[in-house]
Amino acid sequence: MRRHSLQHDSEGRLHHLLTIEGLKRQQIIDILDTAESFVSVGDRQVRKVPLLRGKTVVNLFFEASTRTLTTFELAAKRLSADVLKININTSATVKGESLLDMLHNLEAMQCDMFVVRHADSGAAHLIARHVAPHVSVINAGDGSHAHPTQALLDMFTIRRRKGEFAPLTVAIVGDIKHSRVARSLIHALTTLGVSELRVVAPKTLIPAAVESLGVHVFHDLDEGLRGADVVIMLRLQKERMQGAMLPSEAEYFATYGLTEEKLALAKPDAIVMHPGPINRGVEIASSVADGPQSVILEQVSNGIAVRMAVMSMALGRAPAEGEGA
């Protein structure tokens, strides 16, 4: 039997979530709609639904994370799943056990889902190719490749604030080249079809041939922000400074930092987003990050509902043909 793609089952349903690439517009809309229904669960007396009772979710985080790890854990718990967190620093991989050996051991303990964050691009794909057929893999960020749930929660936040995607001008500002969030955002926003998608960064932080993805490149922040409905700031990875890609934090802030003055160039009702963690005074001024147009904390709460939607859709499939129950 030939698979439609690694992340879909033979009936086209989401089995793994590894990347936004290959998701159809309707599939993204279905995830956002399902997430909408999970929002109210957080406002109730009992913040739990019984959907994944008896399922076991394993968070495999090979790279530090607070927001993503915590919201995945909360999402799984609100779905009534049992959640296991494997601390990779103290686990067997440092004792020389291979990653796949560890996975097979976890499978032998009847785990149903792996949520994977790894510094290497392609790690989640590798795991998805080797897990048992009933196991689902969710990519929680792999190298500079993809961070699909972050892009989905950003789409959810934009839709809740702005309604339709079609009329929007969206500017993504910062290190586009090394950002897995940027890559997933570009795929999500072009699939959903915004009016204009801009990426704004110095030449050294723009990947080659990015225009082929359907974005407009700006090297001047003022021009990139003018008339934007949504401004998404990316975290500047400080380690990039050493690679002579950038002069200094102060100079970067002066040229590409989002201040109140710069934000005034965007539409008056523009929203400001950031996937976190924020470098205050490097890519964004504190007064903007904490200001009235910022939806940064909303992104964090929305992350729970969106991850609940993705987890329940991936695990809530009737077994497809040729798949063990």
Binding site: R13, D30, D33, T34, E36, S37, F38, V39, S40, V41, R44, Q45, V46, K48, V49, P50, L51, S312, M313, G316, R317, A318
Partner: protein, 168 residues
């Protein structure tokens, strides 16, 4: 086949029955909750006929279904909305057809995750044989005697129409 006029008539009778019950039990401030989708159509009419003070609540029981692991996530799930606290409140739960009782079980499980209601009254437009759980309705529009392979289905919202179908 039951035509639209009959159904509006059935719902008026249900409203009278419900009003009498709520008065007899001295219930004030009842919260009516319709179950998506057919139950909500019936609830909208009952709510207007009774002139209830609290806005209508709606439940989508997709997250509480007992066959989730067999049939998977309903892609058309809608948010549940309860406008006021259910704690110590009398709930009138409304569905279109009472059959196995599993939908009502799921709805009651969901309601209890919002708080502790004082009581729940169940009103259904139609009931039929085939109960798999010990659940009965308090207010029933019409009883259907159906064969094992027959189903009754409500379509709507305008007009409401009940059809009896042969199962495929």
């Amino acid at each position: 086949m039951t035509e639209q006029d009959d159904i509006e008539q059935l719902i008026r009778q249900m409203a009278d029955d419900l009003r009498a019950r709520l008065e007899a039990a001295r219930v004030r401030d009842a919260l009516m909750v319709g179950i998506h989708t057919g139950g909500l159509w019936v609830a909208e009419r009952l709510h207007a006929l009774l002139g209830l003070e609290q806005p209508l609540g709606e439940l989508d029981i997709s997250f509480y279904r007992d066959d989730f692991s067999r049939i998977g996530m309903n892609p058309q799930v809608r948010p549940s909305r309860l406008p006021v606290s259910v704690d110590e409140r009398h709930i009138v739960l409304v569905d279109d057809i009472l059959h196995t009782g599993r939908t009502i079980r799921a709805a009651m499980n969901e309601l209890f995750d919002y708080g502790r209601p004082a009581a729940i009254t169940l009103a259904v437009l139609g009931e039929r044989s085939g109960r798999e759980l010990p659940i009965q309705a308090d207010v029933v529009g019409r009883h259907f005697d159906l064969g094992e392979h027959e189903h009754v289905k409500l379509s709507g919202p305008e007009p409401l129409r009940l059809s009896i179908l042969e199962a495929p």
